[in-house]
């Protein structure tokens, strides 16, 4: 399902990261980077919530808005019961819609924000997502200090929080359309190979977006997938060609861009709900404002992994949501 929007704009964004992202190749594009992973908090869960709070503070500062000006918040993260979002938003004035689409939460949030703006009661929506490497390790894998050797295909959950102000005011980047993804089961059950889990979902969403809009891949200056990592990226390219006969040109993956894969200990690249929007709001928007990129299709990908289901020998379903972003003329 592809929804077209005539008057939806991402007016302003803010980005907060942990030390690894700050020291990575895109470090200069972020608003704030912490030098440690606790950010002055006592545990990983509080630290994760702080990422959203900081991103909101910076967004308010940049736009001059206060929390009383916002009509609706939409937020997603990886923690159980969306703890990071829920604890961050206690104290905010506007209602909150909490969403879970794993690492595809960012684009789902933008699509829901755009839909909400059709209502005249809603004028300003703020979308946030966050992820914290150590909080995710603790919840999905092993205790942080355990570490444990991992295969090369493992992705490294990015630490960061982002916020985006979406409204009908013609300013910033235009959100032209959104394609809501289907749940796709790739029959892969390897939790250390999320790129392979998510590639078919990304392919399906890209294909249906192009079908629905009648566009070719060349329409976009850049097609960006969420967090497939260096191996998942190659799998997607070949799968897209064999399954749909589409050769991906002008294509990149945000998981490959966020870190320096040669120098940083991040295995196959970055992942996490914050990975795609960090790269997009930080680096891609800056390039778009310089008019180096005019049309970008952002396809955030999420592995809908549930540890109990994986232990029960089930494969991992995946989902991808896409948003089409355009520079204002």
């Amino acid at each position: 399902m592809t929804l077209k929007y005539n008057n939806v704009y991402i007016n302003c964004t803010s980005t907060v990261t942990g030390p690894y992202e700050g020291n990575g190749p895109l470090g200069n594009y972020f608003d704030k980077s912490f030098s440690d992973l606790y950010f002055g908090e006592k545990n990983w869960e509080d630290a994760e919530s702080k990422l959203i709070k900081e991103a909101l503070e910076i967004l308010y500062e940049k736009t001059g808005a206060t929390k009383f000006d916002i009509d609706l918040f939409i937020s997603g993260d990886l923690s159980n019961q969306l703890a990071a979002s829920n604890y961050a938003y206690a104290g905010e004035e506007a209602p909150l819609i909490g969403i879970y689409a794993a690492c595809a939460s960012s684009t789902l949030g933008l699509a829901l924000a755009a839909n909400s703006l059709e209502r005249k009661e809603i004028e300003k929506v703020v979308c946030t997502v966050c992820s914290h490497n150590n909080a995710a390790e603790k919840q999905f894998r092993y205790p942080v200090e355990y570490g444990g050797p991992k295969p090369k295909t493992t992705t490294f959950t990015a630490t960061g929080g982002v916020a985006a102000l979406v409204s009908g005011k013609k300013e910033g980047i235009r959100l032209e359309s959104a394609t809501i993804g289907k749940v796709i089961n790739s029959n892969i059950s390897d939790v250390y190979h999320m790129g392979a889990v998510m590639a078919p979902a990304a392919a399906d969403t890209i294909y249906r977006h192009l079908q629905d809009t009648g566009r070719s891949v060349n329409y976009y200056d850049l097609i960006l997938t969420g967090d497939l990592g260096i191996y998942g990226k190659e799998i997607l390219k070949e799968y897209m060609e064999k399954e749909y006969g589409i050769t991906l040109q002008n294509y990149e993956d945000t998981g490959v861009m966020l870190f320096n894969l040669q120098k940083q200990p991040v295995y196959a690249g970055a992942s996490g709900p914050v990975c795609a929007p960090l790269v997009t709001y930080g680096y891609i928007f800056s390039e778009m404002k310089k008019k180096k990129l005019k049309r970008v299709l952002l396809v955030a990908t999420g592995a809908l992994m549930n540890p109990s289901r994986v232990n029960e020998k089930e494969s991992i379903p995946a989902i991808a949501h896409a948003v089409s972003l355009e520079v204002l003329a």
Binding site: P143, V144, E145, P149, N187, A196, Y231, I235
Partner: protein
């Protein structure tokens, strides 16, 4: 696309792990751990005149203490990542798994956090250690009878 065809694409773009290097690393480090263990037993029995049987226990306690200390100081995970099964299989791996879980869940309280989660990874080692010890003792006993 069929499951098998997709698996072919995935396999093509999945890097192979360097099994030979990993195995050699684990073999060498595991061997060094054995030498260290033996040296500790010799030290305790020769210099402190502890009987060999008790010296073995002292050696194990020493290795557990060192692993736990290094885990708490925050860099044993990096050493384990390099040494792999050379440090995971010996008692050092057990100590590291228990200590790292204890550190992680301490913040959730002494009973609900530390107490219930400390053996999260290493619990399986205890359970199946006891089960296999019981099974082999049984086999040994039956063979002895026959």
């Amino acid at each position: 696309m069929e499951k098998k065809k997709y698996e072919e694409i995935v396999d093509k773009h999945t890097p192979s792990e360097n099994i030979v290097v990993n195995a050699l690393t684990a073999f060498t480090i595991g061997g060094i751990m054995g030498i260290i263990g033996q040296a500790l037993i010799d030290f305790y029995s020769y210099y402190l005149t502890i009987p060999t049987k008790e010296a073995t226990v002292c050696m194990i306690v020493t290795l557990i203490f060192i692993s736990c200390l290094l885990t708490s100081l925050g860099f044993f995970d990096k050493i384990v990542n390099f040494c792999k099964c050379g440090l995971i299989v010996p008692i050092t791996g057990f100590a590291h798994a228990t200590m790292s879980a204890a550190l992680e869940y301490r913040k959730e309280g002494f009973i609900s956090g530390l107490g219930s989660n400390m053996l999260k990874i290493s619990g399986a080692v205890i359970i199946f250690g006891v089960v296999s010890a019981w099974t082999f003792s049984l086999i040994r006993m039956l063979l002895g009878v026959i």
